[in-house]
Amino acid sequence: MKDQHLVSLTVNGREYELVVESRKTLADVLRSDLGLTGTHLGCEHGICGACTVLLDGEPVRSCLVFGVQADGRKVRTVESLSDGDELNDLQQAFSRHHALQCGFCTPGFLMLGEAYLSTDPEPDREEVREVVSANLCRCTGYQGIVDAVCEVAEMRRSKDREGTP
């Protein structure tokens, strides 16, 4: 008999109620139960970070969280970043700086970046490099990713200084 549980969770601002087997990872729940396939699986042992999502605002490896644990919680995935056709500032910066090639690891880096930027950091290249080293990319050599996050950190800080919403 499968061990199943009723789970209520909010994903990208929308509420869902699901019956989920306890061993199903949050990554698999997002991908196959909710059809949010932007979150990818690269290793399933918590090192590559391709599965990174925000759980109550904190970045987590969704392959290491069981879906049932998201009960009552708020999840944000890469699908929450763009507004229709409009890409957000971090996504646009990724494109400008060629921070993606095959695109498979990109959602994980975007969510890692968003989490880091939400701590309102002082843009410091070495610190960004350290944060970015949480995830693996095999295509880009990371330079574009570090450039993009640094640039957006600076952009968001100066926006704050100017008082623009």
Partner: protein, 813 residues
């Protein structure tokens, strides 16, 4: 934002010379080739709406899990599946016998090659730990793995052949009866009767051994597929993460005995490949077989552990070298005995010979080596098969040649750059016919070296090396070429049973003036949708936004070969350019009729067709397209309908070149080595999109640094893989990879449609040599003579303590 808007955005990072030119010369037509155009692929990837195989929804498909060999070598004596079959959600449990013993055999039509048959599922023997034996089919992967845990396979374990040291041992079982000495290919590629004498009388002779550890491509997306029989199309449709859809189709056709027409292979978005996916995998063909048999969709997703230990590896090689120099440091002769550990089987279709062939053929590189002899052999071992991992043998041959240059320089008291200068093929030497039978067309070999040395000077690296802060610093400068885009004639020399090379493109304009380009290439991160559109946009004088590339579908494109060996932009883009020119002719023909002029007087400019010298006499290309489709009765002079053209390309192959420099820091307290700065001077001819070229270089350098310092597939003495997770197989993170400064030289190629050469592998080819050279330089006061990769902290400590020998320490724990 469309391409027009994007192209006019200021780019803070690097100046956009094409657009700058546009700004100052507004009368000149816009050119897209050379533009750092943002990628067409990006929006969907950034939104998370990329369509990788596992993202394709199909909740009802069955899922596969494989029972794999727990041992490196053995005879299968019994397989018990009853327990598994009765488990929840299990649909079937299948062995090789159940499938009719399907297999793949790669053939090289050479006497010196021994073909090996790779059964899709192990038949009576297992030849590497992780080899698939039983396929479990269940409702989902969780249940499939539960059932796989309950399949019992009895194996009589045999001692394994693992390393090159194990070869020739009579106490170890033969892996393939057809090759009793374990040699699957033995190529005496080049001989020279005078070489011995020349080496015998040379003022300096170096006898060296170089070794390179086994690595794996580890793309972020593992292999994955979805197979489904479609009655209406009378086809098995395989959606698969591959670089070579047509070759997968041929592999399925061969293995399962079905006509090619009954198989359609589709590569949707592919999450990296680097050569691991340019061969046909067993598990994907098993999925296809099961889907056909069951008339039901079947999926397989390789997990990371399977990907690391049981897919395809590369580059486990050893070079025994004799090199002779005159007293000015010039090569007089080079002899190489190359041994490649190619694993348990030949991969399909390239065969296990690809590494030995490339090593022996291309070893001399950018240098004039005098007399040359090379033998290269591929040996079987109880490890996974070797596939052509980015660079193939070239990271190794460049490492060899560059270490030889460094050693000879040291022996003769010469500057390391000077000795290279003396040996490099000079501009006046082109076209240069080498002792390896290759004719090298013009390249900037000397210029790249000089510019690299100059940039190292400008960057102040030598001053950094003088710092006294407890760290040891060193610089490595390497120079090399990269053979790219070789077509059928060159590939034919390998004598593969299936000879790749050409590409065929179709270009079609629809009623609204939009264009679809098809190509047999199969991009997986290289930005083809952007670069091919740039090429075609220049020919048709329309915006790249209007041009859509379709590739990776054997039903949609003409037969082609896929994306590998740095070929796609040149051959695929080239064939698209040829087709586009023919389409441009058709547009001019129609415009001529509509404007009452001669086709030779029509020019295509910025989305218009106009009469030369009479700019008021013009039409938009959209108007032409609409007329051709909807008002064809008004065109009486044309014989053909519609706006469609076909083009092909099949170049002989050409060499890009690059010079790399690495600055490394060694911490004597920990033995740690860090690459702290990196410079690349590269020449790939005409650059279609500099941003994409830079990205390929940087990504390649990262993989090269990985194989120099961090990555190795290691095995226990029993043949158990020890590096089956991303914790143990150390793909570098952002903290291990420095900024890479990239400078471009441009030696246009007159053998290609665009003047471009390929360049996708150069980063990986040069980096191990650059890092190794830098490490030896950092430890020059300690008589460092490190001739292997990867180099680990304990190895550096041994040099510092004077306890190392240049023999590679045992790979086993």
């Amino acid at each position: 934002m469309n391409a027009e808007q994007a192209a006019s955005q200021p780019d803070a990072a690097e100046p956009n010379t094409a657009i700058d030119a546009q700004a100052t010369e507004p009368d000149k037509p816009k050119r897209w080739v050379g533009n750092r155009l943002p990628r067409r692929e990006d929006p969907r990837m950034l939104r998370g709406s990329g369509r990788f195989v596992d993202d394709i929804p199909d909740p009802h498909a069955y899922h596969l899990a494989f029972v794999r060999s727990p041992v490196a070598s053995g005879r299968i004596t019994e397989i018990l599946t009853e327990d598994a079959i009765s488990m929840p959600g299990v649909v079937a449990v299948l062995t090789s016998a159940d499938l009719g013993h399907p297999s793949l055999t790669a053939v090289l039509e050479r006497e010196e090659f021994v073909p090996t048959t790779m059964p899709l599922l192990a038949k009576d023997r297992v030849r590497y730990a992780g080899e698939p034996i039983v396929a479990v089919v269940a409702e989902n992967r969780y249940l499939a793995e539960d059932a796989a845990d309950n399949v019992w396979v009895e194996i009589e374990e045999m001692p394994p052949v693992l390393s090159l040291e194990d070869l020739g041992r009579s106490d170890l079982p033969v892996i393939h009866d057809e090759a009793p000495d374990g040699v699957l290919v033995d190529l005496q590629m080049f001989t020279d009767d005078l070489l011995d004498d020349v080496l015998g009388s040379a003022p300096l002779v170096l006898e060296e051994i170089f070794r390179s550890g086994r690595v794996t491509a580890a793309p972020m997306e593992s292999r994955t597929c979805r197979a489904d029989w479609r009655d209406r199309d009378e086809q098995l449709v395989l959606e698969v993460s591959t670089q070579v859809p047509h070759q997968v189709r041929s592999g399925i056709a061969q293995a399962l005995g079905v006509p090619e027409r009954k198989v359609r292979v589709i590569a949707p978005d592919v999450g990296g490949g680097f050569g691991l996916k340019c061969v046909v995998g067993r598990e994907e063909v098993v999925a296809a077989a099961i889907a056909m048999r069951m008339r039901h969709a079947v999926r397989w997703s390789e997990d990371r552990q399977e990907n690391l230990i049981a897919s395809f590896h590369g580059r486990e090689q050893e070079y025994r070298i004799r090199a002779g120099f005159d007293d000015e440091g010039r090569f007089v002769g080079l002899e190489a005995d190359i041994r490649c550990n190619i694993g348990a089987y030949s991969v399909y279709p390239f065969s296990c010979a690809v590494e030995p062939l490339m090593a022996a053929t291309e070893l001399p590189g950018v240098y004039k080596v005098g007399r040359y002899a090379a033998r290269a052999r591929g040996f079987a071992s109880n490890k996974p098969p070797t596939a052509p991992y980015r660079g193939v043998s070239r990271p190794q041959i460049v490492l060899v040649m560059e270490r030889l240059m460094d050693k000879a320089a040291r022996s003769l008291g010469l500057d390391r750059v000077e000795i290279r200068r003396r040996n490099t093929i000079q501009p006046d030497d082109f076209p240069y016919l080498g002792p390896n039978g290759i004719t090298y067309e013009p390249g900037s070999y000397v210029e790249a070296l000089e510019l690299c040395a100059a940039e190292v000077g400008k960057a102040g690296w030598r001053e950094q090396c003088e710092r006294q802060d407890g760290l040891l610093r060193g610089i490595g400068i390497v120079n090399f070429s990269e053979r790219t885009a070789y077509g059928t004639a060159t590939m034919g020399m390998r004598k593969m049973q299936m000879t790749p090379g050409f590409e065929v493109s179709h270009v079609r304009m629809d009623a609204s003036g939009d264009v679809v380009v098809t190509s047999g290439t199969c991009g997986h991160g290289q930005g083809h949708e952007t670069t091919f559109a740039q090429i075609v946009a220049d020919v048709l004088a329309i915006s790249p936004d209007r041009i859509k590339l379709r590739q990776g579908d054997t039903d949609v494109t003409s037969f082609g070969w896929g994306t590998f060996a740095s070929r796609s932009l040149v051959i695929g883009g080239g064939s698209a350019a040829v087709a586009a020119r023919r389409l441009a002719d058709q547009l001019r023909e129609v415009a001529a009729e509509m404007l009452e002029a001669e086709p030779t007087d029509i020019e295509l400019v910025d989305g218009h067709a106009q009469v030369r010298g009479a700019p008021d006499a013009r039409l938009t290309i959209d108007e032409i397209a609409a007329t051709v489709h909807f008002r064809s009765h008004t065109l009486v002079q044309r014989e053909e309908q519609l706006l469609e053209a076909r083009g092909s390309a099949d170049p002989p192959g050409m060499f890009s070149n690059a010079a790399h420099a690495a600055l490394v820091e060694v911490d004597p307290g920990t033995g740690d080595a860090q690459v702290v700065d990196y410079i690349v001077i590269e020449d790939c001819g005409v650059v279609v999109n500099p941003m994409i070229v830079d990205g390929q270089v940087r990504g390649g350098v990262a993989q090269g640094i990985g194989s120099a310092l961090y990555e190795e597939m290691s095995y226990s003495p029993e043949g158990q893989p020890l590096t089956g997770t991303f914790m143990d197989y150390m793909v570098p993170t952002a903290s291990e990879i420095p900024r890479v400064a990239v400078h471009h030289l441009e030696t246009p190629c007159d053998q290609t449609e665009t003047g471009a050469k390929g360049m996708g592998e150069g980063g990986t080819i040069g980096a191990p040599a650059a890092v190794l050279s830098a490490l030896n330089d950092a430890l020059r006061d300690y008589d460092a003579d490190i001739d292997f990769v990867p180099v680990r902290p304990a190895d550096l400590l041994a040099v510092l303590e004077g306890t190392s020998n240049s023999e590679r320490r045992l790979e086993t724990a």
